[in-house]
């Protein structure tokens, strides 16, 4: 940067200023993203390098993974999987497919449409900033963040012992994936009116991309090339190394990002191409009632988590036969899934149900968190300004959230039972798959109770509900594999369920969990009835 000058005809240096604004207002989340992504990637690489430290082990892994199409649908088709880099690409495949696009989307959406929606953009444009510069600056900062992430990846991979050229190509391919989605988010930010819309449409695009990539990989057709996720995969960093494929996401990102800048310079500030239309003039009788209103408020989240649960169980269930085949051919994989006593199907269902329990618990905490948001944004005050009493309000929401939980668990379990039966060709496991899901309800309710108790008793500490969820998830998923002490395992309420249908369910434990959950809910209600609203 040169020294400050005041020329007679000053060339507006709006872009530099704007980049500074974006950086100063967003550097925290940018750093969190880059560091979290970088460390998780490098951590995965190092862990994989430690686990598969001989060519034989890598070869066994490659054999297991390629023994069916099941894992390819989830993690993608990895060319050159018979190498350390290939194993890392496969292990990271699922996470990378979501996290890198999200990196691009979050960085751009947060500093474009969100700022415009809040009116802050107007303040900025009141200064010496041209209309197209904010989105350009947002894209520039996002590019730098993506580049930094890629560099971290590459360094981590090389340190883990991956060949340098493959490490670089893989990291750049992932960066290009993030870049393509950053451009898309920038374009969407010009088209829709609210930041929420940018997220919704980018995530829908991502879901379609994941689906296309999965279909292409399992059917071995060029469909894969239609998906940005497929472009990253087709660079084949640990196989044929097709560098030219990088041009596709680069062009996609440049075209969408360029269109965003072009549109931003030409459209009215605050306008949008796609606007929400008019809605109903009156509220239905049901929505006016506390329970109906609560149902409306929780419907999007319930639908989202239910969709996630069904997607997971349908996908895993329909691949059940392939999993069984893979486990039969590879005792190591079976052991990793906790199946040692010759009941692989039960082991498969049990592992899936644990994932589902984590999804369901995430739903209840988010749903109770919605109540905290209602309070923090002042809407709870509006709501309680009338004849509706606190207890009725909270009871209505509790009932709706509990119903949503049962819906998510029962619905997804049913889908798991159906898809598994379809895949393996018999219904012997049908009942067990459904009841295993329902057996997890008391554990999920304990976390709901924790969230509700915090909301009533110490609303500002609601973050601890998420912390508790993170700890419980970590213990439930990784605890047994890491051979943690029993008392640590017992900290996760899911441990007390007994891993059905592989293990036996202890009815006494379920009752005890239910009592704990009820006590926590009661604490939440009593405290909520007595406290100030809004609680400062």
């Amino acid at each position: 940067m040169s020294a400050r000058r005041r020329d007679a005809n000053p060339r507006p240096r709006g872009l530099g200023t704007m980049v500074g604004v974006v950086w100063r207002t967003r550097y925290r989340s940018i750093l969190v993203w880059v560091i979290a992504l970088g460390t998780s990637m490098v951590g995965t690489a190092v862990a994989v390098a430690g686990l598969y430290d001989t060519p034989t082990k890598i070869h066994t892994y490659a054999q297991a993974v390629t023994s069916g199409r099941a894992l390819e649908a989830i993690n993608g088709h990895v060319e050159g999987i018979d190498s350390l880099g290939g194993v890392i690409q496969d292990e990271f495949g699922f996470l990378a497919a979501f996290l890198l696009p999200l990196l691009g989307i979050a960085l751009v959406a947060g500093s474009t449409r969100r700022e415009e929606e809040s009116g802050r953009l107007e303040t900025v444009l009141g200064g010496r900033i041209a209309r197209h510069e904010p989105v350009l600056a947002a894209l520039a900062v996002a590019c730098v963040a993506i580049l930094a992430t890629s560099v971290l990846f590459a360094v981590g991979l090389v340190l883990a012992g991956v060949a340098v050229s493959g490490a670089i190509l893989y990291s750049v391919a992932l960066g290009a994936l993030a870049f393509a989605f950053a451009g898309l988010a920038g374009l969407l930010a010009q088209l829709v009116l609210h930041a929420r819309g940018v997220y919704t449409w980018s995530l829908i695009t991502l879901a379609v991309a994941y689906l296309l990539r999965g279909v292409g990989d399992t059917t071995n057709t060029p469909v894969t090339w239609l998906s940005p996720l497929g472009w990253a995969e087709k660079t084949a960093p640990f196989g044929d190394q097709r560098w030219w494929v990088l041009a596709i996401p680069a062009v996609a990102g440049l075209v969408t990002g360029g269109a965003a800048v072009w549109l931003a310079a030409r459209r009215d500030v605050g306008s949008a191409l796609l606007r929400g239309g008019a809605g109903p003039v009156r509220a239905t009788r049901f929505r006016r009632r506390p329970i109906g209103f609560a149902a409306w408020l929780h419907r999007p989240a319930t639908g989202g988590w239910l969709g996630g649960g069904i997607l997971l169980t349908a996908m895993l269930g329909s691949l059940a036969r392939q999993f069984l085949g893979a486990m039969a051919g590879n005792p190591a994989l079976a052991r990793a899934m906790g199946v040692e006593d010759g009941r692989p199907l039960d082991g498969f269902v049990a592992a899936t149900q644990l994932y589902l329990a984590i999804i369901a618990a995430g739903y209840v905490i988010q749903a109770v968190g919605t109540l905290r948001t209602e309070e923090a944004e002042g809407r709870l005050e509006t709501r309680l300004g009338g004849t509706l009493s606190r207890v009725r309000w909270l009871a209505a929401h509790t009932a709706v959230v509990a119903t949503g939980l049962v819906l998510i668990v029962a619905g997804s379990s049913l889908v798991l039972a159906l898809s598994t039966a379809w895949s393996v060709g018999d219904t012997a496991e049908f009942g067990a798959a459904v009841t295993a899901g329902l057996a997890y309800l008391p554990a999920e309710l304990v976390l709901a109770g924790l969230a509700l108790g915090l909301f009533g008793w110490w609303p500002r500490g609601f973050g601890f509900a998420w912390a508790g969820y993170a700890v419980a998830t970590f213990i439930a998923l990784l605890g047994p594999g890491l051979k943690l002490a029993q008392w640590v395992l017992d900290l996760a309420p899911t441990t007390a369920i007994g891993n059905p249908p592989l293990g036996a369910v202890d009815v006494g434990n379920l009752a005890a969990l239910a009592v704990v959950a009820a006590a926590l809910v009661l604490l939440g209600f009593v405290a909520f009835r007595r406290r100030d609203i809004p609680r400062a």
Binding site: G276, A278, V281, T382
Partner: protein
Amino acid sequence: MSQPVIHTRKLTKTFGKVCALDSLDLTVQPGEVYGFLGPNGAGKSTTIRILLGLIRATGGRVELFGADPWRKAGSLHGRLAYVPGDVALWPGLTGGQCLDVLGATHGGVDQKRRSDLIERFALDPAKRIRDYSKGNRQKVALVAALAAQADLLILDEPTSGLDPLMEQAFQQCVRERRQDGVTVLLSSHILAEVEALADRVSIIRRGRTVATGSLADLRRHTRTSVHAVTDREPENLDGAQGVAEWVSAPMDGRVDTTFTVDADHLDAMIGRLHAARIHTLTVTPPSLDALFLQAYGEALDARESDATLAEAGR
């Protein structure tokens, strides 16, 4: 019997070490529009939240329709409607849906008045709240409260974000509600609005009442400015009791005099001016503005404010 609608006595609220209300007294009689004035952070919204039973008083007495608002919040709210200071609504609902959801928690909704108000405030009920401007969101909350069949309206800075035309419509609506016998507690720092609507006012600062009474009462405690041109020099005026800011000078063969005088001595002063043969006379009554600034400004010197204004309030 004339039981006050709102009655607080030595109302106190502390948040940790911060004292938001420091023995606040407030009495609102049925059927009156009561102005509740004070600078930002004076404790207006805290008082209102206690009246609604949303937060609990640390000390003192508070009664709404003769009952404890903390214990009887649900049933008491059937008789009132409330517009919060920061209107927060659900972005995903349309304006019309919001009105219905809010109306469902009121004692009752006058459907005819509802549609009438939507028209008067030029509100589009099919639009979603997230697409409304700030002023339009405010209008939704106002229409919901004004359409409610309530005995009491609690309005916390209700016109922030409204344009002057809508402000007029709002004032007209409040007057109509008062004619129907509705009591109104109007918290505001827009003096013109309070002056136009309120029968009685309280001015609070740092959680204490610094002045209270009817507007006429309050005016009596401020000074009237007098500008007179007389044929002769008025006698015994300069330095007389109750007179201040005396300036007198000869002008075109007459005497031009300006001074301020307190209400109790106005009559005697006019008599003396009359004795000096009045040529022209302008008497400017104290505006609420002056009172307000006096209450705030002088209050910076807490000792003086507590001594004179609280006294004046009694």
